[in-house]
Symmetry: C2
Subunit: 166 residues, 2 copies
């Protein structure tokens, strides 16, 4: 299981809040299950890691893998910041985009462990870019919502490295 | 590459038709990318094979994997029949559902080759049910739109085998 950066206490409070709200009668509305999941509804997302690798190779674009969880407040907060960051949303068009809530079986994506949120870049040549981390030494590929400018820079770096290395 | 049951000629005609239509000016409408992809919009779908296996195991429901392609008319015709078959749509609630347009890397799903459409059942015990085929000896796990009643029976069989074997 991936761990989410969140204390159990906060999770408990949030859960209780959810339960309290559910006591009131409300009509059951079925949410549409989208591939974007709110990370950028106007962007194009691939469904699986295999599809991402295939399209990265075919289009010569880097693949950006966002591993997150619906029940992880850190993931949700990062998603909100990601979706609202105009620079990220614009530059994201130059990537093959994948967001997942279950870890792919490919061990190359494991890097420094199972945790969420975790953002990894993969070159069209299928190489996982371990050299594009965030700023935390314990979880090198995670980002806080306030790190979106660094993430934006890392996205530029992924594109730049791609050009200089080819 | 998976092969689609379709002659190149038909594909060519359909493509030409598409091109002809595109000559007229029409506003660009961005389609919402859903997980159901039209196979049953009111049903719950998982995103990846890994997620499907995890949920099948946790819920003790069989996993139903539908491998198809957006550009394969056989897949599209089966999808229409599948979505309109009330029995299938009802019984499908008892399954963990996955539809994919790229082959998962798990070789257990390969069975008698790469082709689409292909529908495979996987037990919560992670066993691929090679013993629940369609009716074609060359592609044992494919279905034509007119085979939806057989598919419905196979779905019942997958549930029944699950009960008797546990």
């Amino acid at each position: 299981m991936a761990t989410c950066h969140l204390s159990a206490l906060v999770l408990l409070v949030l859960s209780s809040h959810g339960l309290a709200k559910d006591n009131g009668k409300k009509p059951e509305v079925k949410k549409v299950q989208t591939l974007s999941r709110g990370w950028g509804d106007s962007l194009e997302w691939v469904q699986t890691y295999e599809e991402g690798l295939f399209k990265a190779k075919n289009s010569n674009k880097p693949l950006m893998v966002i591993n997150h969880r619906d029940d992880c407040p850190h993931s949700q907060a990062l998603k909100k910041a990601f979706a609202e960051h105009k620079g990220i949303q614009k530059i994201a068009e130059k990537f093959i985009l994948l967001n997942i809530v279950h870890d792919p079986t490919d061990k190359n994506l494991l890097l420094d462990g199972l945790y969420v949120p975790k953002i990894i870049f993969v070159d069209p040549s299928m190489v996982v870019r371990a050299d594009i981390p965030g700023k935390y030494s314990n979880h090198r590929y995670t980002y806080e919502p306030t790190d979106c400018d660094l993430l934006f820079e890392n996205m530029k770096k992924a594109l730049k490295l791609l050009k200089t290395e080819l």
